[in-house]
Structures are given as structure tokens and as C-alpha cells.
Symmetry: C2
Subunit: 329 residues, 2 copies
């Protein structure tokens, strides 16, 4: 018998656009990804095998809770994160066309495609069956892409494809992702409908509403289990959490673009909230101005051994990958 | 027609041993890898498809120039580096047995297996046809091995397998490797027998004798082309250079274990000697005591853009990987 399985690990795509028509990058009202009609966005999501469960807007951000994870659309960039057996990369070419046709964005300024090593890669659909295939697919769409593997290829690792070039986009942008596995089963019970009646109740019980008290939260509790939330903060900041609570393949991801100096505190909050057996953090941003040695000393957490710590110095910013494992109690 | 081809990129193996019989690690005269009989060493090299061309001893080191690269044997560790289509990993199990039987070394203290991405992996023999196969082979021999990929998997990258654990071996050990491709064809002419009569003449013409003026050099010029040298320095320090000069697949490697503070000067000397179009440096050592930020600023070379720069913080030391490309002239 083949047991029930769900691949919690998300494929994560972020694309930044710009335009060749202005030297000074003064965007017109037409230069805005949020101009793309909603029904065409949904058509693209169909190609990925995702549906929209919730949609909301703020002054800076369109946010979507999806049947498999989340999407955020900003003026010049979007973030699409999809789990399970979705075919995220099928969205790339259509989105490039929509950005050109509806927003006059004819230049791709930056691309990030990343994911953790799948637990069961053989269940994925092309081109997601291997990182090699994903890279070949992306190389067919973009010029000058670089593919990296962080962590240990024979144990746990994390893949990244990016255009390693100087970008128009603001260098002050940054992202923190915390990917947690082997989670505390008591805490995971919150995300089963037999224990918790509503998404709002799950959000409160887990303390997710306390991470950023000023956030506007859009949450969803799946049947019979599983949880997704998008949180909107002022000034285009967001956070998003996705939870696969089943004991055999438990997985929680946390992602945010709030400023870098908060990351140490946020990671502490998030790991005490979910109590994972193992977790990785990936941090984009900082760049040469921040001391690498400072990073190295800061990102340590009691109860956890830091098993891996790698730094990739990219053109505009640094990427810091760390892998932590709980000390035996 | 399939043109002539030679895979210059070496497989590089370093294994450190210790013994469980003494708590204080006071080695007896039996605890010495140089006790392994020479004919048994040659039998192991036969499994790898290598022959011994030159052999010499110093107080600390046995050095071998091989038909495909080099070997160095020290008291508690050895370095075996083999190029072409050799099957280096076939040596591992026999060497572990010889170390146990002839030296009472029953514990493997540390392992490093590394290589650059092959130009033509399809010409390699198992398990060297892919890094995945190599890792599976090593995982069958060692516990707790970690596999890393540095650089860009879709362009140029470098693979490492190591036991990421605290070791008995002295933490002051360090290694620099410079791997050069797209070399200056005028400089490469030196390593063809039609231009140069002897190994000693090649060593002198290229200036290799000037890198460490106090070295004892063992060099070999292949027919019709190609060059290998081992250099012995006082106190167990060595350097070794291997050259595949053919224009279509030119490749030069330089490796040394002299102290870390000399690396910046050495790299400058070596790249001006061979004038590569591209090169990577890999540095083991340093550890947390050295400033990563200092590393980052130091290892820059005029005429070259540093395309990639990655740092892996391992248990006992840091690994710094950098990839450089010549500025268009």
C-alpha cells in the first residue's frame, strides 16, 4: 500500500520587471503588474494547477491565497509560491507575455527560482522532476541565469536559479525564508479541522497573529488539515506561512520581506511557535555593507546546532543559507 | 570524426587517519602511512589506472609523480590526485585496509574528495560518471559524509565530499587549489616536446622554479605534450602543478598546503605565469579566526572579474570558493 503523501516543499518564483522605454525608470501608470486582468492571472494559475481561494488588495500589493500556497503582485515584481505537484514554471512564459502586453514591461530585471530538495521528486511533473530539468527550462527562457545548490546534496539541500547581474530594482530589498521539517506534533494538531474550527482560530491558537501585530491577515484552513496565510504590512511588506501538518511529512514555511535587522528576532519567534526538529534559513539581502562575520555570530539559536552555514556573494546582495538541527533532549 | 580529447580536471582525494588505541594520540613508529610497502601502493594505483613515473622521499613526505598526476604520502594522511579517465575512488577501500593492516590506523579522521565539473563526463568510468554516483560510492564507505556543490551547476562548478566533523588532525592545516582553463596558448607551447626538450627546461622556462625557490622539484614532460611536477618544501609543505596544454581543452592545476597568509601572493604569481581566461580558487583553512570580510576584500585580482564567491563554514575550517573571468581586453 502506498500511504497518503503531500509534498509541502514549495517552488518559489520571484520576477522583477523594468522597461526599456525610459532611461530614468520613471514608471507610468501603465507600468504596473497589478494592471493585468484578474481572469488572465487565473488562467495562468490554471496552467500551474492552482486555484484562487482568497484575494485582497492594499495600496501596494495584490495578495492571493491559493489552493496550493500564495501569490503577491506588486508594481514591478511578483512572488508566486506553490507546493504539492504544481507546475509553477509553466507560469513563467505567460506571465512574461502579460507583463509586456499589459504593463509595457519588456525587460526582466531579476529572477529568483528556488526550492528545497523534494521528499519525493518522482511524484513531480516535468520540468520539476529534477533541478537539472528546471534549470534547462529556465535557461531556455532567460539569458545569463546561474544555478546554485546550497547545503548537502546527499542530505538536505536547497536550489536556486537567479540572474546574477546588477539590477535596476532597489538594493534595499531583502527576503527571509524559514523552512521547517520534523515539526512538533502537538503544535501541528492546531492545523487539523478536527481540533480547530476555523482559520482565524488556528491563526490565534498558534500565535501567528502576534508575529506582526499590525498585519492584515488572510488565512485558510484546509479540509481535513493544512493551513495557509498571507499577511500584509504597511509599505509593501508581507509575510506568508504554509503548513503541511501530517506527522509523516510535516512541513512549515515562513517567508517575509520585512527589513533585515528584524530577522534574528523573527526566526526566534517562528521556531518557538512551531518547534521544528530541523530548519533552514535563507536570507537574501544585506550585501557587502553588512559584516559577514557579524552574520555568522548572530544567526545562532539555543536548542539548535547549526550544521551548515554558507554564504554566496552575488552581484547586488548576499545570500546566507543555514541549516539547523535540534540538539537531542 | 571525434577529435583528440584529454580530461585535465583531476579527481582529488585526501584522507587523514588516526588510531583508537591511544587516547592522547601519541603515534608509534608503526602508525605511519609510509610503512605501507611500495609494491602494494603500486597495486592500488593499478586499480586507478595510474603508474608511478618518479618517486622520492623527504623526512616528512613520500612523493610520487604519476602517469596521471600525483600522490603524496605523509605520516597520517595522503593526497592522491588523478586526471583523465582514471578511477580514483577504486583506491579508497584498499587504502583503508592497508592503513589498518600496516599502520594500525583504524579510524578515518577526515576525508576530502573534490573535483571540477568534467568537460566530458560521458567519457568517465563508474563511479565517476556523475557526482551523484561518486557520492553514493563514498557514502557506502564512510558514515556522516556531506556532499556540496560550489559555483554554478549550469556553467562551471566544483564538487566536494567531506566528513563534516571535528577532527584530531591539526587545525592549522590548509590547502589552496587554483584551477585554470582557457590558457594562454603562447605560454602553453612550453609544455610541448616540439618546443621544449626536457621537463627541467619546461620548469625553468615557465618560471615554476621561482614560485618557491627552496623547493626540491620532481618534474615530468609527457610525449608529445603535457607536464606534471611535485615540489617538496621543508616541514611537510608541498606544491604540485599539472598541465594539459592542448588549445581545445587546456587545463592547469596548482595545489599547495603552505600557510594561508601566502595565498594571495601565490595566486598572483600563478595566474601571471599561465594567464588563464578563467580560473577558480578553492581555499580550505582559516576557520572562524580569520575575518570572512577580509577574505572577501583580499582575493581580488586585476584583469579579472570575480564572478562567484562562496564561503562554506565547516566544523573545523572555512572553505572559500571563487571563480574569476578575465576582463575583455
Amino acid at each position: 500500500m502506498t500511504g497518503h503523501f503531500f509534498e509541502g516543499a514549495e517552488k518559489l518564483l520571484e520576477i522583477w520587471f523594468t522597461t526599456s522605454t525610459s532611461d530614468t525608470i520613471k514608471y507610468t501608470s501603465r507600468n504596473d503588474l497589478r494592471n493585468i486582468p484578474r481572469d488572465l492571472i487565473e488562467e495562468v494559475l490554471n496552467l500551474v494547477n492552482c486555484k484562487v481561494l482568497q484575494y485582497a488588495q492594499s495600496a501596494t500589493t495584490d495578495t492571493y491565497v491559493l489552493s496550493e500556497s500564495s501569490m503577491f503582485i506588486f508594481r514591478t515584481h511578483f512572488v508566486l509560491k506553490t507546493c504539492g505537484e504544481t507546475t509553477l514554471l509553466h507560469a513563467v512564459q505567460p506571465i512574461l507575455e502579460l507583463a509586456r502586453d499589459y504593463c509595457d514591461f519588456d525587460i526582466v530585471d531579476q529572477v529568483f527560482y528556488s526550492r528545497r530538495k523534494f521528499l519525493r521528486p518522482e511524484l513531480q511533473k516535468e520540468p520539476h522532476t529534477s533541478f537539472e530539468h528546471e534549470v534547462a527550462y529556465l535557461d531556455s527562457l532567460f539569458e545569463g541565469g546561474s544555478a546554485y545548490v546550497l547545503g548537502r546534496t546527499n542530505i538536505d539541500c536547497w536550489y536556486l536559479y537567479t540572474l546574477n547581474k546588477a539590477c535596476v530594482r532597489t538594493k534595499s530589498d531583502q527576503t527571509l525564508e524559514v523552512i521547517m521539517t520534523n515539526l512538533d506534533q502537538e503544535k501541528m494538531k492546531i492545523f487539523f479541522q478536527e481540533h480547530t474550527k476555523s482559520a482565524a482560530e488556528a491563526t490565534k491558537k498558534a500565535g501567528i497573529d502576534k508575529i506582526f501585530p499590525n498585519a492584515k491577515i488572510f488565512d485558510y484552513l484546509f479540509n481535513p488539515c493544512g493551513y495557509s496565510m498571507n499577511g500584509l504590512l504597511p509599505d509593501g511588506y508581507y509575510f506568508t506561512i504554509h503548513i503541511t501538518p501530517e506527522p509523516d511529512f510535516s512541513y512549515v514555511s515562513f517567508e517575509t520581506n520585512v527589513p533585515y535587522h528584524q530577522y534574528n528576532d523573527i526566526v526566534r519567534k517562528v521556531i518557538s511557535m512551531f518547534n521544528p526538529g530541523k530548519f533552514t534559513t535563507t536570507i537574501f539581502g544585506g550585501s557587502a555593507s553588512n559584516s559577514l562575520d557579524k552574520h555568522r555570530k548572530i544567526f545562532l539559536y539555543s536548542d539548535y546546532a547549526r550544521i551548515d552555514h554558507q554564504i554566496v556573494c552575488l552581484v547586488d546582495y548576499d545570500l546566507i543559507y543555514s541549516y539547523y538541527k535540534k540538539h537531542p533532549s
